[in-house]
Symmetry: D2
Subunit: 424 residues, 4 copies
């Protein structure tokens, strides 16, 4: 693919941002591109790409149908779309090029539920590839990630690599809901080395980070409190107040003790309940998340949070249901791959600066894939590809420097080849 | 008006329920009815019926326009509708019949924001006058109240009464937002005796309550907390957490000390904030109400509630805006009128049982009109007209026994005539 | 007894104030007085005066021994003292004077754990009968009550009364811990009419209240939270924080919903825990009370309070023990006795003013005796005997106007005689 | 000094443990020892050893007098004692031995307010040097520290060292209240290199830690809430509830947001208020501490804690006074000194194992002295001297292996000599 091809593909995806499990157009477009460009040995699409029972937080049918139809209206291939029905988005592409090691590359493809700037200073607006989907935007560069995934496949297909390459086009990263389903699929079982990639992260074009670390393990919890309504003036004693339960829980969630084992986090990001000033609130809910520097620390927070939620309900004589939400473990890049990536990057055109290891401080569900490969005896490395981005991640003016797409492809393809060499 | 006329009018209003400040069809229909039936001395409509600056909790223009157009589409008189634009619903009808005392009668006309049952056992459903407005319902009998108001005017117009009768068709009672605007209008200034009426209240058809008491003074407060968002995993310390402020406030609102002076109430009926699991919540709000057996006790609760809301915001470094919400005082019926009503009721056909005084235990903004008249040296009495109601007030199967409409007219018209006699 | 005798006895008791279950000197002195003055038919002392298993909140042996020895040192009769060992204070004196009704009179005899003023303006200080027991004081007039009890016995013994009089000299009223034990004893079983008496209550000398009402039912709860200590800097996660449990409980105790059935109260009067700034608190406790206008309302508060305490413990992974504390029901005086007392009082020398019924607004465990008699089909009345008191009840300058002791005896003896007459 | 001398001195101090600012016997004994053993160039005692205005948390006169007299009774030199009056304990000893660098050594001398085990398995009990002061114990090895300080002085006095040695015998470390006063004194101004020492810390005899790190900056806060009492049954609305303020503060203190900048801690170690079940609590207090991995993080916690305390008071209409409590900064050992200590230790008899740097995880006010020297351009190092200790630090069975006292002296004296050599 020429630079122009890469830019054109990325911009097409940018114009059609689709949030978690709704990446119908995006998946179809990737599949079309793959099928038209090279002769893959395997291409697993939709339900075939994942372990179905591990999908988390899938939207309801009304929502899925709306996005499905929008994808069709935008010209996505109907035959491909049919394979994605029910929110089975994503794909795994496999190239077999000899008996060397199996290398995995994970790229995520989903967008965010936010509006994109229409400021003329915002390049996508100025050049006509701004989001055409109201309230959705590629504000974290996953359009570039998908493009890089295809670019790397092509480079390897055309090169000297003697082994197997699997590219995981993963849906639903933004809500940490898709990584587990790919990590539990059979496709990962024979992977010897797993790479994951992210552009930006406050690193400029020309900088490569070999080994992004510091991912916090994370888990979401959604608690629904159910009490009993009552007229607040006439018979307050007949109520069982779900908002009191919610408030007690919020206060005590934030007060879970700090842990000397490392970083922990907790947030009651949404807390809401009640229906009218004069009704003792019958229902309330909290959407919370907990994090930990290690999976164990996250679990410390989660078991404390569950106890807080349950006893807050009991305190106000309410029932509570706690839904198991999305989650991801922590992960650390292996030294061996960090060295390879750093070394390759240092020799790559367009790379001015190489960092070995840097802390992210957030969460990411690529860690599921990294962890699985590591548990199977393989290695993993998360690679940062610097890109000048005018607005911050997740803001309405985020954009990528398209120059960095090619650089990312060069570094990753180079690293994949080197992994093969070092394993022979 | 014949019984059939009364039933027909009530059913027409029932089919067109309109919540607070949106009673466009209802007001237009009342005005048409009044103008067609008798020669009123004065008819004040919309802005002329109230003290405009005292309207509370008026919906926004989008909402008002929607209901306005719906009223027009339903066939309301366009000339009348124009006088109501901007949510200026309600009317005051005046009959002058001599130099006796001025008696006021207050009837409320608004509906509730809830759906009506379509169960075939629900009479309005069975007989085809169920609500035609989705999500709105006359579930508290104000359709009957409006009808009684017109019926009383007619009875007095046709009778021996020598004085002035003013009927206040009041909007927005359900959100205690319309009473103040009528109580502050000039129309109330010369009223010597004020009657207010309510059907049902768990009293059966044939029972009259002379002097419903125990109205709690009430005040609504809407607090909006504003903090600062932050990534809950990456930089929790950068947030100023509006949901923590909200939760602290909820806990402490309910914990305002009880008062030996009498009944108090508090409810955080709606409490909600935050946008996503991983964002430190930037905004939250509480819609609360406080009540007291006396206006002073309500004010004790209100000033405590305000302090709690302010210091909860400060505790979490948030700002808070507290909107002055709807409110109503407490009130007590005067012995003199209680006796008159009881005595008249006892002699009225269709009345089997008369109670002197009964406790309501809720709130009602007729108290504004009662209080104003009492402060001006006049007297007031709240009259309950029993009616068999299959479902409870505010539930989807509430209905009135139409028999009681005539009984209510008889008792109130009789009481008005007696008031005149006793004042001469 | 002459006035001088009454004053002398009262002052002797005043000098020797003894708190709940420690009334060793007081009981011995009363018994001596009774035995020396008249020929009682029965005199039940200590364990014989009560149902032992219903004593509440008895102090530990060290404390009991200290007061026991102090009483002996002060000259109390050793033979009587021995019958009181183990904190079995109090007595029931019985006069049988014919086959008329059995009338009970309950007087309480305990003091308060507070210091008495030594201001020369404070009469007991000026006249040398100030408390000789550090940290204890008759600051609520029970010294006068005991004196009245003996005076009434003498008056009845010398008069025309034809029936049985039982005077209950009750210990431990101040901590509402002695009433139940007397109410469950056999002595109350045949009582037809029960009187109880209190001096003062902000009524002046010369005023009698026939029927003090408004006693709130009350129950104490003492909760002890036990967690796990930990170094707050080094290993906060190892702690199970009893102070967090306590704080959560306090907040939610006060937030128990108000009840439309009547007055309710809650207070976490003592809340304390922890040992040092740098230790996660291992232990904490709350001493709380709940009250209700009726016993049922108190029980509503109590069951809610228990649930709050238990779930607050669970929330912070602590254990909690909730001790059943002292308690008393509510009670109302019967009309029949109210009339008798009012009528007798109005004819008594020294009485200027008679009130029928007045609200106390606190609690008192005479209600146990009243309730038991009423449940057995008898009647009860709580009588207020006004007395000018310079300082308020429970303050260090409280004192009684000794004039009112004689007036109280006159009214009560008169009422007892009248009860007999009206029952024949 | 022979080993026997060291053991004898340490046991004498062990038998006379004295908590913060009460080290009268201890200081006198140290001064006697110093004066009798060698010819110091300067010996600053009591007020001369510190910057008086920086003493924190000094006990009241009653308490000071009690310990002062106890020290005198135990045979402390009266002339020395007089210089310590008012709790001015501690001393600074100065040896001048040439124009080389000035090296400081800080040893702390106070004991803990806890009882010592009398179990025969506890060596001090078995061998007769168990604490003779009820409720006080050297449970953290400061008796060994003081002994080491004297031993090092002697070793340097007798050796080749050409420079100045200052030993800071610091009082009041356990409550982090004495370090600041020594760090602000003039004696520290010319110190080029500062060493501090601690025995044990879970390291066995024979192990040396060159560079104990991870001290958390810490600050104590004592908040006193003052409200208004009221009868909880009669007039709850008259109260201003200090326990509610306290509980609200506790809940929100623990909920101060975690900080991505590093470790933070908070603990409401003591929380207590109220006087009786039936009184609305008038007073309450919280003794809290906050910590941070850096001084800045501690200040983040402290300013949040202050805001929480203030607004919790305001919420319940109470006043609050927040006393500035003890505090200490964080500190890190300098590489240069770490290397010297490690190197010297490796060559010292009795040392089996040397760790370079280890995390403490608690707080310590030697950091004030370290920070001051570092700010003045010098270097600092905190040295751990392993010692087998049967019970944990701060427990009743803590004891030191006296063998390690000599080892500590050897390592520290060796390091001081080496510092001089490397600076020439």
């Amino acid at each position: 693919m020429t630079s122009a091809d890469l830019v054109s593909l990325r911009r097409d995806l940018h114009r059609r941002p689709e949030p978690a499990w709704r990446e119908f157009y995006t998946t179809a477009r990737i599949v079309e591109e793959l099928e038209s460009r090279f002769d893959l040995d395997e291409l697993h699409v939709g339900p075939d790409a994942i372990a179905e029972e591990h999908r988390l937080a899938v939207p309801d049918d009304v929502e899925l149908t709306r996005w499905y139809e929008q994808a069709r209206d935008a010209g996505a291939d109907e035959a491909i779309l049919e394979r994605l029905e029910g929110g089975y988005t994503g794909a795994v592409a496999v190239l077999e090029r000899g008996d060397g090691p199996t290398v995995g590359l994970r790229v995520d493809i989903d967008a965010l539920p936010r509006s994109e700037s229409d400021d003329p200073d915002h390049l996508p607006a100025a050049e006509g590839f701004r989001s055409e989907h109201d309230g959705a935007m590629h504000a974290c560069g996953h359009d570039a990630h998908a493009t890089i995934g295809i670019g790397v496949l092509e480079r390897i297909a055309d090169g000297e690599f003697s082994g197997t390459l699997k590219v995981f086009f993963q849906p639903a990263e933004e809500i940490i809901a898709g990584g587990k389903a790919m990590a539990r699929s059979e496709h990962i079982e024979d992977v010897d080395a797993m790479l994951a990639v992210h552009v930006g992260l406050n690193h400029p074009t020309g900088e490569i980070v070999a080994g992004v670390d510091g991912f916090l393990a994370v888990s979401h919890l959604e608690a629904t409190f159910t009490g009993e309504p009552a007229h607040a003036g006439g018979h307050p004693e007949d109520g069982r107040n779900a908002v009191q339960a919610m408030a007690t829980a919020v206060q005590n969630l934030y007060a879970i003790p700090r842990n000397s084992g490392g970083k922990t986090r907790v947030n009651a990001g949404i807390a809401e309940g009640g229906s009218a000033a004069n009704i003792v609130p019958e229902e309330a809910r909290i959407v919370a998340e907990v994090r930990g520097e290690t999976t164990e620390l996250m679990e410390y927070m989660r078991s404390n949070a569950r106890r807080v939620l349950r006893s807050a309900a009991e305190m106000h004589d309410c029932d509570v249901e706690i839904e198991p939400g999305a989650e991801a473990p922590s992960a650390t890049s292996d030294d061996e791959l960090v060295s390879i990536v750093a070394d390759v990057a240092a020799r790559t055109d367009g790379v001015d600066s190489v960092l070995e290891r840097d802390d992210l401080g957030g969460s990411e569900d690529a860690t599921f894939l990294m962890e699985t490969v590591q548990e199977n005896g393989g290695t993993a490395c998360y690679v940062g590809v610097g890109t000048d981005h005018p607005g911050g991640h997740h803001t309405s003016t985020f954009d990528v420097d398209e120059e960095s797409i090619g650089t990312g492809i060069d570094v990753l393809a180079g690293a994949i080849e080197r992994i093969e060499l070092e394993n022979h």
